[in-house]
């Protein structure tokens, strides 16, 4: 039996790596992928708790997270396409019209 702890720590590590990627990378699409990574880490935690408590409620939440992530990916990628066409660059640091 794998102790629930292990899943949770793995989830924490993945989440941390996701945050690291988000801060570190400059390509917009890669940033998005980092977000997906974070969401996956959270899903793992949900399922781990669901298993630990013996109730399927956690899995239902995972379903919802996946649905939302999918919808978000669709819309987000649409925006990325438009932004990339507009700024002619995929570097997030070039999307800086709010800079003083």
């Amino acid at each position: 039996m794998v102790p629930t702890n292990y899943y949770l720590i793995l989830s924490a590590i993945l989440f941390g790596l996701g945050v690291l990627a988000f801060v570190f990378k400059r390509n917009i699409i890669t940033l998005f992928m980092a977000i997906e990574l974070m969401l996956n880490a959270v899903n793992l935690a949900f399922v781990a708790f669901s298993q630990a408590l013996g109730k399927p409620d956690g899995e239902v939440f995972v379903l919802f997270v996946i649905v939302v992530a999918a919808a978000e990916a669709a819309v987000g990628l649409g925006i990325i396409i438009l932004t990339a066409r507009n700024r002619r660059s995929l570097n997030v640091e070039h999307v800086n019209l709010l800079k003083l």
Binding site: V23, E93, N96, L97, L98, K99
Partner: protein, 647 residues
């Protein structure tokens, strides 16, 4: 309706008159303004008379009533409490009676002036405050009236506010009064600290049980009395705070008559008389009062010798006569002081109003050297003024003879230099007689020193001469309360006031009687001497002459104003503009306010760099926030781990 139960009516009526005239008078005709102002004052006078009647009918029991609590703080209570005893009766009748007469006079005098309604509004307001002052049953309410009359004095002196000298005079009066008021307040604080209350009843009852302090000892009561007297010197224009009174002549003449002769300036004497129990326990303070009063009487008389403005002569005369009143209080003859207060109110108001009549007749001229030979032209005014002059000089049977005489007699009999006080007082009486008769001769006799074509001398209307005659009558008869004393009978006035002041001052013994007679004769001789010298010098043809030496010193009022300006005023102005303005106001206060604004701007400037417009840095800030929140939420779990080492 029993007035005594509702004493508040007496001050309230003038207040209503003032408010109505002030708010609506601008649009009303003079007749309506008159009726409001005169009506309120007149009815107030009638109520005062009725209150006195009820008082006397009730066996002359001192009456006190608390109307409502004004200040209640811990054990301290100052309420709107009014009282009536014999002393109040005298003050009340003088204030309302003479006040009413002056109101009537003003309708004639101010008839051609602008701001008519404003004048009467202020005058009524003054009546309100003065009545509060004399009716008050505790020091706090008295102080309200005290301050209020100071305010009205300022308003009325500066009535012609477009004239710079008038506005300056108003300010000077208020500021100098304020200095005195500071002393008065300190005195009140000391009294509260010593006796726990500021009610007259409580304070005097407690003080009576205290041991009287020795001469030369500056105990609590002595210091408190001296402080109260400082306030009195401000309000009643004694040395060294008298300087505002001559300047106050910038105001209209009825104002000079009412405020600066009959009522406001007597407030200081009233306070000293009211606090006589305190003063009796503080011989040092009384001695100081006597000396200051006597010195002022002489000092002011010397200045009055050479003045050329008719009102200035009367102003210095007022200062001098007030000195007499304080001299009386200082030697323990309180009822004599109050007696002189009353007679002074009559003849000084008479003199001022007559002077106003002369000025009115001369079309605004105030310099006596530009008058002359008026006795035939304005007969009524002339006779009234003559009555007043004879009264002030102290000739019997006019009023001041009796009052001044009581004062000089009491001074002669007092311990510790009474003879000196008497001597100086007598000298001042000589000077008084001299300068008053000088005024008469310069103004009414001799040749016309004015241009007959420019000035049309005309007698004043009846509204002005009527009150003059009433006051002249009072100047003649006002002293007759004490007439029987001259022939071995009772001094009715002193007897009337004896429940207030104690019977200690009733004259006694045969020896005292004959001494008093001798001194009265000496006083009359002195007055006659002054008259003769003035007759010699001024009844014939006179020229102005140049001013040099002693004359110049006196004419310039001993340069006291210049001295004050150099020693007090200029340093203060320097301090204010260089320290208080530049350093404190512009530097510190503005600096703090602007500094706060600059600080906020600086903080904003620093924080603004967080809004860089760069997504990556925003991401980092999000991570920072997440760490903080998660740290706070998980703190109970985390913190044993932080310090407990690795488990």
């Amino acid at each position: 309706m029993p007035i005594l139960e509702n004493l508040w009516i007496i001050p309230l009526l003038p207040l209503l008159g003032s408010a109505i005239n002030g708010l609506f008078g601008a649009k009303w005709s003079k007749a309506v303004v008159n009726s409001v102002a005169l009506g309120s004052t007149g009815v107030s006078f009638l109520c005062a008379v009725e209150a006195v009647r009820e008082f006397l009918a009730g066996g002359s029991q001192p009456f006190r009533k608390e109307f409502f609590d004004w200040i209640v703080a811990g054990s301290f209570r100052a309420g709107f409490d009014l009282q009536l005893d014999q002393l109040t009766v005298v003050m009340l009748l003088v204030v309302t009676g003479v006040g009413f007469l002056i109101h009537i006079y003003s309708t004639g005098y101010m008839a051609h002036e602008g701001g008519y309604y404003r004048f009467f509004s202020y005058l009524n307001l003054f009546m309100f405050f003065m009545l509060i002052l004399v009716l008050a049953a505790n020091y706090v309410l008295l102080f309200v009236g005290w301050e209020g009359v100071g305010l009205c004095s300022y308003l009325l002196i500066g009535f012609y506010f477009l004239k710079k000298s008038a506005a300056d005079a108003g300010k000077k009066a208020f500021i100098v009064n304020r200095i005195g008021d500071f002393g008065f307040m300190l005195g009140m604080f000391l009294l509260f600290r010593s006796f726990g209350s500021l009610d007259f009843q409580t304070v005097f009852a407690k003080a009576a049980t205290w041991q009287p302090e020795a001469m030369g000892q500056f105990g609590t009561i002595t210091v408190a009395c001296i402080l109260l007297f400082v306030g009195a010197t401000g309000k009643s224009a004694q040395l060294p705070l008298y300087v505002w009174l001559p300047d106050a002549m910038e105001g209209p003449t009825p104002v000079s008559a009412l405020i600066h002769a009959a009522t406001m300036v007597t407030a200081g004497v009233y306070v000293v008389a009211r606090s006589h129990i305190l003063f009796s326990h503080a011989p040092t303070a009384m001695y100081i009062v006597a000396i200051v009063g006597c010195a002022t009487a002489f000092f002011a008389a010397t200045i009055g010798l050479v003045q050329s403005d008719i009102k200035k002569v009367l102003a210095y005369s007022t200062v001098s006569q007030l000195g007499y009143m304080f001299l009386a209080c200082g030697v323990g003859a309180f009822s004599a002081g109050i007696f002189h207060l009353m007679t002074h109110a009559f003849f000084k108001a008479l003199l001022f109003l007559s002077a106003g009549s002369v000025i009115h007749a001369m079309g605004g001229e105030q310099d006596m050297w530009n008058m002359g030979g008026l006795s035939k032209k304005i007969k009524a005014t002339y006779w009234c003024m003559l009555f007043g002059t004879i009264a002030i000089a102290g000739f019997p049977p006019f009023a001041a003879f009796f009052s001044k005489d009581s004062i000089l007699f009491a001074a002669y009999n007092s311990e510790k230099g009474g003879k000196v006080l008497y001597g100086v007082g007598l000298l001042a009486a000589v000077l008084t007689s001299f300068y008053m008769f000088r005024l008469i001769w310069l103004t009414f006799y001799g040749e016309n020193r004015y241009d007959e074509h420019r000035v049309h001398v005309h007698e004043s209307p009846g509204s002005m001469t009527g009150p003059l005659m009433i006051l002249a009558f009072l100047s003649l008869t006002g002293g007759w309360f004490a007439l029987p004393a001259l022939f071995g009978g009772k001094d009715y006035f002193a007897e009337f006031l004896s429940p207030v002041f104690g019977a200690a001052e009733a004259g006694g013994g045969e020896a005292a009687q004959s001494l008093e007679h001798i001194l009265s004769i000496v006083a009359v001789v002195a007055a006659t001497a002054g008259l003769l010298v003035a007759w010699r010098m001024y009844s014939k043809k006179v020229t102005r002459g140049t001013s040099e030496g002693v004359h110049k010193l006196l004419y310039n009022k001993y340069y006291v104003d210049e001295l004050y300006a150099a020693v007090v005023v200029r340093p203060l102005v320097w301090l204010s503009s260089n320290v208080l303005w530049k350093v404190v106001d512009a530097g510190m206060i503005d600096g703090a306010v602007n500094g706060a604004a600059d600080g906020a701007a600086a903080v904003g400037d620093a924080v603004r760099h967080a809004q860089s417009g760069n997504t990556r840095s925003y991401a980092v800030w999000v991570v920072v926030g997440a760490i903080v929140v998660i740290g706070i939420v998980f703190w109970p779990i985390l913190h044993p781990a932080l310090f407990g080492g690795v488990r």
